[in-house]
């Protein structure tokens, strides 16, 4: 590996973060987990109960139950209900950021169990939900906008910087999904010819409103546009200059999928993972855009070391409490993931 390559590699994995992006990811993921737990409760007996559509006898031969907490008492409805309640509790504590890494692991364990209990209701979005619960537990989830952060402040602890290696892992995971999907599509003629979206949109099973699109050019544009997006997003999102455009396009792409197709969870979990691509400064700037209508804004704190004059010295100096109030997008830590 060339020396410059080593440097890029080192920076990519070793970039430091104050946890703002992880905090935003935690909130987005936590809200989604609350929603998912509601779905589990609504279908608890139907999908997972002994009297439901999939009695234990039909799935007990799967060897993967060794990883499932439900296999402790697979035919006990009380145990199932208890596990589902813990899922809701975990989602709540994750969202508010009280020991969030622990609760993320709990969500991971429970969803692994639910997916083994009834693997026939699971789709790709659910798989990604589990993957992100496990990888998310490696992020500094509680450093910002959390009960943990509030407790730390009360105890007088300084904000800490940590490596973003696990954030990178999630970013790579999401990029891989887009690229895999793109290359899998390229292997089939419909995507080359430009008519694949016609079949998707007319599917009585997948389409929310099955329709045979007859508007000229719309089908090939949508087909090739999908390919182009899935190919370009994983590249553009790592370049700070193009990242905002890639993320906005990504959100639009997934909103389109969610409105047009019946694919639970997938689009929401993909978008929930987007903060993992963002630097702390970008995340704070984005949150301020969201808060603007409320007349509020957040400021990015600096770590104790930085306020002492480190290399990421903010444009405005620290105040007496060691925090600063400059606009985060004007300075602050370098954008992570920069391969440029």
């Amino acid at each position: 590996m060339k020396r410059s390559g080593l440097r890029v590699f080192g920076n990519f994995w070793g970039e430091r973060s104050l946890g703002y992006s992880a905090g935003l990811f935690r909130i987005a993921y936590g809200v989604l987990a609350l929603w998912a737990s509601l779905g589990v409760h609504l279908n608890l007996q139907r999908f997972y109960g002994q009297e439901g559509v999939m009695p234990w006898a039909r799935v007990k031969h799967f060897p993967e139950h060794v990883y499932s907490v439900l296999s402790v008492a697979p035919e006990d409805g009380s145990w199932l209900f208890g596990v589902a309640c813990v899922f809701s509790v975990a989602a709540f504590f994750l969202t508010i950021g009280f020991v969030p890494r622990f609760w993320s692991l709990v969500i991971f364990a429970i969803n692994v169990a639910l997916q083994h209990r009834n693997p026939y209701v699971v789709n790709g979005g659910d798989r990604l939900f589990v993957i992100l619960a496990a990888l998310g537990a490696l992020l500094p989830l509680g450093h910002r906008w959390s009960v943990d952060a509030w407790i730390h402040r009360k105890l007088g602890r300084e904000p800490r910087q940590v490596s973003v290696w696990s954030q990178r892992l999630i970013g790579l995971q999401i990029s891989y999904i887009y690229l895999f999907s793109c290359f899998a599509k390229l292997a089939h003629a419909g995507w080359w010819k430009g008519n694949a979206i016609y079949h998707v949109m007319s599917s009585q099973v997948f389409a929310e409103w099955p329709v045979e699109i007859t508007i000229p050019l719309l089908v090939p544009l949508a087909t090739w546009g999908t390919l182009l997006f899935e190919w370009l997003f994983p590249l553009a999102v790592w370049l700070p200059r193009y990242r905002p455009y890639a993320l906005v396009l990504g959100v639009a792409f997934h909103v389109g999928i969610d409105v047009a197709l019946v694919i639970p969870m997938f689009s929401a979990i993909m978008v929930a993972a987007y903060p993992c691509y963002m630097s702390d400064a970008e995340t704070v700037a984005f949150v301020n855009i969201l808060l603007k209508p409320l007349g509020r804004r957040v400021t990015m704190e600096a770590p104790a070391e930085v306020s002492a004059g480190g290399p990421t010295q903010p444009a405005e100096g620290p105040n007496s409490s060691g925090t600063r109030s400059s606009h985060p997008s004007s300075s602050g830590p370098s954008a992570p993931g920069s391969l440029a």
Binding site: L6, G39, L42, R127, R160, A184, W191, P264
Partner: protein
Amino acid sequence: MTLTPSDSDSDPVPSKGEPPELVSGASVPTPVEGETAEPDPDVSFADLVAAFTGWPLKKRVLVAVAALFAAFHIGAVLLRGAPKRIKDPLWPLASWYSDGLRMTDTWGMFSLPPKDKLVSIVGIATDDSRIEISHVQQNERDFKQRIMDTRLRKIQTKLVDEKSRNHWGRGYVNYFCKQALARGVPLRRIQLEIQGKAGEAPKIFLNQSCRQNGPARGGLK
């Protein structure tokens, strides 16, 4: 190049004129606006090794474990999507992680034109009237039912596959027999139907009687 040992959770402050850490340490700083960036110093593999060995034991262990996990995860993800001839010999090493812990998947959604058929569950009441029980067309339901039934499509369309149908199809249909009975609508039998094109009659591919006592029995068509 000197690299300062540091705690894994804190960011070391490089001494004046000293280059920052490169791996799991401080990032290469972005110059504050208006300042001139210094040229990047060269980094060799030996520098990285020297940095690593200079850290405290706890940090070395943490970084090593993190690096190994990241490498394993990426390897498992790539293996899952690899061609069969590459995947099969190595799969035993990753199956516990991929299938057991469900940490990897393939993502070729919609690469092939969707072939799933619209499957409906229809109850035949004792007076031979038809009762639509479970229908996967989402846009024909109210909001609460849509939330509840959002995953029905997945499981119900799998019943078109004969192997799945033989494995758990009867248990699946039994649930609807019991549900109907609990609601005071005893059914004579349940039919699974594939919806045809407009104007075509649905195709019945499973027809099972609903017994009020004990497991239901029926035949597959």
